[in-house]
């Protein structure tokens, strides 16, 4: 259980985190979303005890991060922003160092190292200096380091940044596999990741929590939630728009600008348009290429949440220790 209470942090007068409060229970995979400079990384750094909050408290499974840092830190696996690692070490030496620091001993240590090396497919680079590895491998070494001691709480700052689609898939599978009993917090820019991996999403901007919901609840906030898309061939645009607008429960019709014949029918609140649009298409005898109902667009919700009611653009504030080459 993670309890975060009214966390605040200012840098040189800029309020990076401004009163964040939330709890996370075991089994949850929490996605942390927000524009650059929203305070995501700063919050994570305070969660892991790297920086001390100006006010507020963080408690990890009952251990207060400020009062009992070593006990709290031993419960956490953390991948910092940019996946920093000692570049002159090989992944094997590096993992062995982390295991020693975390007090893994003897057979348990070697078996855990073997396990994470297999899990993250690091076998081929085990004995090469980390400095010489590609970005994807470095990231995976960082993840390996974070899960090495099988932590209760896993905090990953942009875990799939720099990975190719296959590796992304693997890492997401890995996170999902871990999540049964544990607490996982990931920060990401990639919205699809939230839908795929997370059971809960928190959107923050300006150091404040703007939304805290499941990914599908967030999708439901989109104006495209339950909108019906229809792709028509050889139907004059005007006819199609007039006909679609006349469907019962349709609020608006949007015409795609980059694909001729693609229309999106937005519903009135709680309306269900799919059957009606389907019937209309049959009645009119349209040549339908595609017909589907949208779940909602997360990026749309994200933009709405982070740009509306907030005025001027975000100032870059997050500390970036992770810009290592």
């Amino acid at each position: 259980m993670i309890r975060i209470d009214n966390l605040k942090k200012a840098f040189n007068g800029f309020q990076a985190v401004d009163g964040i409060t939330f709890n996370v229970s075991p089994g949850e995979v929490l996605g942390f979303l927000g524009p650059n400079g929203a305070g995501k990384s700063t919050t994570m750094k305070m969660l892991t005890g790297f920086i001390t909050p100006d006010s507020g408290s963080v408690s990890l499974c009952g251990f207060d991060v400020s009062n009992d840092p070593v006990a709290a830190k031993s419960l956490v696996g953390y991948l910092p922003e940019g996946a920093p690692a000692y570049g002159d070490m090989t992944p094997l030496n590096f993992l062995s160092f982390i295991a020693d620091i975390r007090g893994l001993l003897g057979k348990h240590k070697t078996s855990r190292i073997d396990e994470v090396i297999h899990l993250l497919e690091l076998q081929s680079v085990c004995n090469r200096p980390i400095d010489t590895l590609s970005k994807g491998f470095k990231r995976r070494v960082g993840i390996a380091q974070a899960i090495l001691h099988d932590p209760q709480i896993l905090i990953l700052d942009e875990p799939t940044d720099g990975l190719d689609p296959n590796q992304k898939y693997q890492v997401r599978e890995l996170i999902r596999g871990l999540a049964k009993e544990k607490i996982v917090i990931i920060s990401t820019h990639i919205l699809e990741e939230v839908t795929v991996v997370c059971t809960r999403a928190i959107v923050i901007a300006r150091g404040r929590v703007l939304a805290d919901a499941t990914p599908s609840e967030l999708e439901a906030r989109s104006r495209y939630h339950r909108a019906v898309c229809i792709d028509l061939v050889d139907v004059p645009e005007e006819d199609a728009v007039t006909a679609l607008e006349s469907v019962a429960g349709a609020a608006r019709v949007e015409v795609s600008s980059d694909h001729t014949g693609l229309y999106t029918v937005l519903p009135e609140p709680n309306g269900n348009l799919l059957n009606a649009v389907h019937d209309l298409a049959i009645r009119k005898g349209w040549n339908v290429q595609e017909l589907f109902m949208e779940r909602g667009r997360l990026d749309d919700v994200f933009r709405q949440l982070t740009t509306s009611n907030l005025g001027e653009p975000e100032k870059e504030s997050e500390t970036s220790n992770g810009e290592a080459a």
Partner: protein, 244 residues
């Protein structure tokens, strides 16, 4: 292995996994040779001792030690491993001490590798090996003092060059504080306790006492306290500047 040991071990290995260690040791050995035999007049003095060897150590350390210490924390901060290290379940004290000890032992290794000079002087004459041992101990303690200052400067910045320059300047002040020229300029006007105080802060005064074979507890304490205070300052600065 305890955690200080783990960090010490990693750090010491990292010196030898880069060319830094080898370059440092080779240059250190070459320079000690040059200073001892040419500038120190090792042969010309016709005395079986290592005074010409030890007397240049403060000046050698002034430029070589900051080169070792500058990376201690500045590099961790630059590459982001500081965040990794400090979010592992180790206390800041453990990390500061572990890293310092690695650097100190590393300079100890470089110092120990000057043993051919000791063999030479034993071959040529019959020196007082007790004095020589005291000289080595004093030199190593002084290296520790330089390193502790360097550790603190390295913690204050993420730029290694700045760390180097700051360390050289501060170490220089601590060395010349005991220089006759400086002390005389104080003697002209300052009360004697101030002159003693300035001289008492100097690396040179304490090192010279030790290297003459006088192992006074106060000199040893001086270096240990210097190390302790600067390491404490290191920890405080890291804690303050973590977030930057």
């Amino acid at each position: 292995m305890n955690q200080t040991g783990v960090i010490f071990h990693r750090e010491l290995n990292s010196y030898f996994s880069t060319p830094l260690a080898y370059v440092f040791i080779v240059i250190f050995l070459m320079l000690t040779g040059v200073f001892t035999f040419y500038l120190g007049g090792f042969y010309e003095r016709r005395q079986a001792d290592l005074m010409p060897f030890f007397m240049f150590h403060p000046w050698l350390y002034l430029f070589l030690i900051p080169a070792v210490s500058m990376r201690l924390w500045a590099e961790e901060r630059k590459t982001g491993t500081l965040e990794l290290l400090l979010t592992l379940p180790v206390s800041l004290k453990t990390a500061v001490v572990g890293k310092f000890l690695a650097a100190w032992v590393f300079t100890g290794i470089a110092l120990a590798l000057t043993f051919p000079i000791w063999m030479t002087v034993n071959y040529l004459g019959d020196p007082d090996n007790g004095v020589i041992l005291a000289g080595y101990i004093g030199s190593w303690l002084m290296a520790g003092g330089f390193l502790a200052i360097g550790s603190c400067m390295s913690a204050a910045t993420n730029n290694q060059v700045i760390a180097f320059i700051l360390t050289v300047v501060i170490c220089f002040l601590f060395v010349v504080a005991g220089f006759p020229l400086v002390l005389e300029s104080f003697q002209a006007w300052a009360p004697s306790w101030l002159v003693d105080g300035v001289a008492g802060l100097s690396f040179l005064t304490h090192f010279e006492a030790v290297s003459k074979g006088v192992l006074d507890l106060r000199d040893l304490l001086y270096f240990l306290i210097m190390i302790g205070v600067w390491l404490l300052a290191t920890a405080v600065i890291i804690d303050m500047k973590k977030a930057d």
